[in-house]
């Protein structure tokens, strides 16, 4: 059975279709579900019926209160219990770009933060060092020492675009090195496109089932997406990460 993947859509989500495409090519059964279908009067879907969750990229609610913040509020207010069970069952969750921002702001990454009590955030995502949105291709090096279910089997770097204005990862005390799953290849701009500390592009929770990343591996899943495919360079460098996630989802689900 192909694992069912819930691709979350909220107002302003715009990379849900290629996330679905990537999950499909990786062997999953994706479905784009609006957050209103998981809550309230229009409730028609249950998170529990899926083996994997992808919080896709975009500009949820326009990012008017800081990237991902308003979507994070929805996650914590409306689907908190379902989400907690999903996490508890160690089902994989992937937040891409705006989804990463939302998971961080919702207190699910890199550590669990109780938003109603004392704040114990150890990291955030904020404005790029250059102060504006930027779209360019980057190379991401996987951390072989990370337990992350999406990256632990990766043997090659990921090559894919970034497209964001608030992707600078800022860490304070407490982030474990093994929680860093992907790093930009170098420290200088534009290799590190946003000025993230320690070139961090992606992090996971301590047991490795939840990952968030700023770049878009879902935009490099067929060969002609590679910017130099006309020069004979091979493509699909974003797909293995999805394949790993789907494989894991099939095992755990």
């Amino acid at each position: 059975m192909k694992p069912a993947v819930l691709i979350l859509h909220a107002s302003g989500t715009n990379r849900d279709h290629e996330a679905a495409w990537a999950c499909e090519l990786a062997g999953g059964l994706p479905e784009i579900v609006h957050i209103n279908q998981l809550r309230g009067a229009l409730h028609s879907h249950r998170l529990a019926d899926y083996q994997m969750l992808v919080v896709a990229g975009g500009f949820s609610y326009g990012d008017a209160l800081g990237a991902g913040r308003r979507l994070a509020l929805d996650l914590t207010l409306d689907v908190q219990d379902d989400l907690a069970r999903f996490v508890e069952q160690k089902k994989p969750i992937l937040g891409i770009c705006n989804g990463f921002q939302a998971l961080v702001k919702a207190g699910l990454l890199p550590n669990l933060v109780d938003l109603t009590g004392e704040e114990n955030r150890i990291a955030t995502l904020t404005h790029n060092q250059h102060g504006h949105f930027e779209c360019r291709w980057v190379t991401l090096l996987p951390n072989p020492n990370s337990p992350c279910v999406f990256t632990r089997e990766l043997t090659e770097p990921i090559y894919c675009p970034v497209a964001h204005g608030e992707g600078r990862f800022v860490r304070s005390e407490g982030l474990l090195e093994e929680q860093i799953t992907l790093s930009y290849k170098g420290a200088d701009y534009p290799t590190n496109p946003n000025g993230s500390s320690d070139n961090i592009a992606a992090v996971c929770n301590t047991n490795g089932t939840i990952m968030g990343l700023m770049p878009h591996p879902e935009d490099h899943i067929v060969s002609w997406q590679h910017p130099r495919w006309t020069r004979g360079e091979s493509g699909r460098k974003g797909l293995p990460m999805f394949e790993a996630g789907i494989r894991y989802a099939a095992e755990v689900g």
């Binding site: 679905a20 229009l42 504006h132 935009d219 067929v222 002609w224 130099r228």
Partner: protein, 981 residues
């Protein structure tokens, strides 16, 4: 008014670049004593029952990121005196906030989120505080505020703590003004038009006067405004429909040497080309909001380009932002999903001294920064890849920048319906209606002057967009389309509901109740509701039994909607406010009653240039050719635009096969972008690995105002040729190619401006016929003139943008412009002629006796042959020759490929005169092509008699060699990318 909480948020880790950019902007404005400008974000919250704990909770949960920000807050009383001095005497403050009613997504989200948290329904306002260090007196501070920190069209500022403006409900008096036209003399009619800024001429006013007399009542304010919007140049294209007497005058004497009657410029040029075109894949041209062509048998592509020049001149961010939003709505309005956006921008020189900026205008740097941020904001947030564009600089654009925005959509073949029925409900979806965007259409039909930005109507004519609302509306419309829930659809653009419903009900007539229209805030008068151009609104005609289904989709996607009226079948536009009459006009008066303009156009032929002297040619032959090339590569019109292109998302949806930039370093300038819309051709779950479609399309543009300054006819044929050769260069089919025309011109009532427009129209016709191509949509923006206080007029350089969309049969058979491998051969395709008139070389050197680039010979045959060669896989790289001709094209191919290129001029037919003519001539219809030696013979055969010369090769040594040019790729890159050595 209640007390309110003032929250100040400071970044503990501020983005250094943003701070530096502010200081730089201050220095650009001549305020070099500014040492530092720090920024704080301000929020203001108010509600009678709001508690301290609730304010803190909002701050923690919604406003402040504790890892990188800190905040302070306190209660303030609106009547209390606000602090004017800052704690630190060396620092002065400027505080800025939006005018009431300007779109403020931040405030909206806080309000919504607070409700979600179960807090009282608070009022929210936002603002910015700037802390300025440096020795500035009060006048300096005002200058800093006006020129750098605040745009008074949409914002206001104080040099102390600012008083927040909360939206408060006001009651509307529902007043409908009655205007007596009967009995007014001609000059009184003209004065009335001017006073009310109707932009209607005497003949038009007389039609309204006669109508008023016939129905025996005065007209209402809403009726006058509706007629003014419907008949505005912006909506009705009066000039392109006018009867024009066109005269050509002798060079010096001004004697009339040719005269003809142009019976409608649109019909006799642009449309005529389309009608004579033999292609059967044109599905809709000039009928809908966008042109529509066949794509793959199951899906169709729509394409439209628009301008948003006047708004962008006054409020660059909001102007370009809503320009993009508007053209995207045109595409949604033909029931298509927007899948690509394009932008072509024209600005004044970025290094213009501050004291040279015309009164009332913004500095070109500020215009450019705002326009680019606005374009990026809308497309990026909606998730539509921006894949093609251009940026041009000329002093003539200083007061009148041009902002062209294009959008492509895809829809299933029978998805779009335009068949409203009697009884259909009229549903308005999306944004709420406010006082924003009033009279935008007439505003764009007036010249700009030093006081335009201060006029009260400017602030209501310009708006800021909300792309997320438009994104949600798009999702609803796509689902409603697939479920066949509506019978007709149109977007609200210029003229707002009056124009949208007026067009939709053109045949049937409709009745509308304005109190049903959802408002951003109350207090609007009936005519304001009817005419408001508030953004992000679509109108659907829905049969009554399907309204519920539309409502359900709207609920799912958080889209607001209102049922405001219905189609009557009585042929009358009836608008009421709480049952009282506001508009009662026959549709025929609005759509057929317009008196056709009669205009005079004159074109003075250019003098025959004198034959060049031996000395002049000798002088040109002794110019340092390396220096010439480096100068041209560094010219802002040619230089790399990478820094700007990268602020746009060109990857979203993963369909961008040929990206705006290409080559070893992903930075070479692509001729055209290629998109594979596979993601929209299949549904989730049907997209298995084996089912990927390979059909795509290419987008390009052609534009060269420098040619227009010499001869608008040549500008037009060159723009068409450039757009065509760009898409052909990447592998698109020249026989499946559609064009858009966008004219930006000066005041058409002046015969010389109109003469140029007629010339350009004729050029469009001739070029389109030469390629047997159709125009499928077009638009004109006239009156791009600045009138100084002394009455002196400065028109823009007449500018024609031609956009092309062309089918790529298989995206795997496309090529990029970067050279691929040392040892490969370089071919020049096409004929090089002595065509340096208006060239980039001519901007730097005096070129005697030359012509402006004209139509090439065998244009279509050559393009077809090249396309055939590309499809056979015989072409490794291909780049069109445009600004800077052969030398610049070769340099760009080399620097993009990271390899050398060596060209031998002796192997091409050269132009008599100087060597540099052949190197920098900008003749149309030419490409440089890289071919592997193995394929040389096949390539030459495939080119089938076209003019082709094998003129060079790709070299491993990264050096460009042509004649005496001998420059390393590193040197070329430095000049082209603007890097210091």
């Amino acid at each position: 008014m209640n007390r309110y909480a003032r929250i100040e948020i400071t970044a503990t880790d501020p983005v250094a670049q943003s701070t530096l950019a502010l200081r730089q902007a201050a220095h650009d404005a001549g305020l070099t004593q500014v040492e530092q400008i720090d920024h704080r974000t301000l929020f203001f919250l108010t509600h009678p029952n709001l508690t301290d704990q609730q304010v803190e909770r909002i701050c923690h949960l919604l406003l402040v990121d504790s890892v990188v920000e800190q905040f302070v807050w306190r209660w303030l009383d609106p009547s209390a005196n606000l602090m004017t001095e800052s704690a630190d005497s060396a620092t002065q403050i400027v505080e800025v906030e939006y005018h009431l009613g300007v779109t403020d997504r931040g405030a909206y989200e806080v309000k919504q989120a607070a409700q979600r948290l179960g807090l009282p329904a608070i009022q929210v306002a936002t603002g910015h505080q700037y802390m300025v260090r440096g020795t500035l007196n009060e006048a300096d501070l005002h200058r800093l505020a006006k020129q750098v920190l605040c745009n008074e069209v949409v914002e206001h500022y104080t040099l102390s703590q600012i008083n927040p403006v909360f939206i408060e409900d006001m009651s509307s008096d529902g007043l409908v003004e009655q205007i007596q036209l009967v009995g007014l003399a001609d000059e009184q009619l003209v004065r009335l038009s001017k006073e009310r800024r109707l932009a209607l001429n005497l003949a038009e006013m007389q039609v309204l006067q006669a109508f008023s007399e016939k129905v025996g009542r005065p007209l209402t304010d809403a009726e006058l405004e509706m007629a003014a919007q419907t008949w505005s140049e912006h909506c009705f294209h009066k000039t392109f429909r006018a009867k024009i007497t066109y005269r050509e005058l002798a060079p010096q004497t001004g004697e009339v040497v040719h005269e003809e009657l142009v019976d409608g410029l649109l019909n006799t040029t642009i449309r005529a080309a389309t009608e004579e075109c033999s292609k059967d894949w044109i599905l809709s041209a000039f009928v809908d909001n966008a042109g529509i062509i066949e794509f793959d048998g199951e899906n169709v592509l729509s394409f439209k380009a628009e301008t948003h020049n006047h708004p962008s001149a006054l409020e660059p961010f909001g102007g370009s932002n809503t320009g993009v939003g508007g053209v995207i709505r045109d595409i949604i309005g033909v029931s298509a999903r927007p899948i690509a956006v394009t932008d072509v921008l024209c600005f004044g020189p970025q290094d213009l001294p501050a004291d040279k900026v015309p009164a009332g205008s913004l500095h070109p740097r500020r215009v450019q920064a705002g326009v680019i941020a606005g374009v990026g904001d809308y497309g990026n947030k909606m998730g539509i890849p921006n894949i093609n564009g251009a940026i041009l600089y000329h002093p003539g654009y200083t007061a009148n920048p041009l902002v062209y925005c294009g959008c492509v959509g895809i829809a299933p073949r029978d998805g779009h319906v335009t068949d409203p029925h009697v009884g259909d409900r009229l549903l308005v979806l999306g944004g709420r209606t406010g006082r924003d965007g009033l009279r935008g259409a007439t505003f764009s039909s007036l010249d700009l002057d030093s006081e335009t930005s201060e006029a009260s109507f400017a602030s209501t004519a310009v708006q800021i967009g909300d792309p997320i609302v438009e994104k949600d509306v798009t999702e609803v419309i796509m689902l409603a389309r697939d479920a066949k829930l509506y019978n007709a659809i149109t977007d609200c653009g210029a003229g707002g509901l009056s124009s949208a419903i007026g067009e939709m009900a053109e045949k049937l007539g409709a009745i509308v109740e304005l109190t049903k229209v959802g408002l951003k805030y109350s207090g609007l008068r009936p005519w304001e509701v009817w005419l408001s151009e508030a953004q992000e609104r679509m109108v659907l005609a829905v049969s009554p039994d399907k309204v519920e289904a539309v409502a359900e989709l709207c609920a799912l996607y958080n889209v607001d909607w209102d049922d405001v009226g219905h189609m009557t079948g009585e042929g009358q536009m009836v608008v009421q406010y709480d049952g009282q009459p506001v508009v009662d006009l026959p549709m025929a008066l609005l759509h057929d009653g317009h008196p056709r303009l009669e205009l005079l156009a004159e074109w003075q032929r250019a003098d025959t240039p004198p034959t060049p002297t031996i000395e002049a040619l000798d002088r040109l032959d002794h110019i340092d050719q390396n220096k010439v090339l480096l100068t041209i590569l560094a010219d802002p019109n040619v230089a790399s635009k990478e820094a700007i292109i990268r602020t746009y998302d060109h990857e979203v949806h993963g369909g961008t096969v040929i990206k705006p930039m290409t080559g070893v370093e992903n930075h070479g300038p692509s001729d055209a972008a290629v998109l594979n819309p596979v993601i929209w051709q299949t549904k989730v779950g049907q997209r298995g690995a084996g089912k990927i479609g390979y059909k795509g399309f290419a987008l390009s543009n052609g534009i060269n105002p420098l040619y227009g300054l010499e001869d608008p006819y040549c500008m037009a044929v060159s723009a068409v040729d450039e757009a065509v050769r760009n898409v052909v260069a990447v592998g698109a089919d020249p026989d499946q190619l559609a064009l858009l025309d966008n004219f930006c011109w000066g005041n058409p009532n002046l015969p010389d401006r109109l003469g140029g427009l007629v010339r350009a129209g004729k050029g469009c016709y001739d070029a389109a016929r030469a390629f047997d191509l159709p125009f499928v949509s077009g638009k004109d923006s006239l009156n791009n003139e600045y009138v100084a206080d002394n009455g002196e007029r400065t028109p823009i350089p007449s500018t024609l943008l031609i956009s092309a969309i062309a089918i790529v049969p298989d995206v795997r058979q496309t090529v990029t412009m970067d050279v691929k491998e040392a040892g490969n051969l370089i071919y020049l395709v096409g004929e090089t002629r002595n065509e340096l008139g208006g060239s980039i070389l001519a901007q730097y050197y005096d070129i005697p006796h030359t012509s402006v680039p004209n139509l090439p010979k065998q244009a279509l045959e050559t393009a077809r042959s090249l396309h055939g060669a590309i499809r056979q896989g015989l072409v490794q790289a291909c780049h069109d020759l445009s600004e800077g001709g052969l030398a610049v094209a070769a340099a760009e191919m080399a620097l993009a490929g990271g390899l050398g290129v060596c060209v031998d001029l002796h192997r091409i037919q050269t132009i008599a005169g100087s060597k540099i003519f052949s190197m920098f001539s900008e003749s149309n219809g030419r490409w440089l092509v890289e071919v592997s030696p193995d394929n040389a013979i096949k390539f030459e055969q495939a080119m089938n008699g076209a003019i082709v010369a094998q003129c060079g090769e790709v070299t491993a040594k990264p050096v460009l060699k042509i004649e005496s040019i001998n420059l390393s790729i590193a040197e070329l890159n430095r000049a082209w990318r603007g890097e210091s050595a």
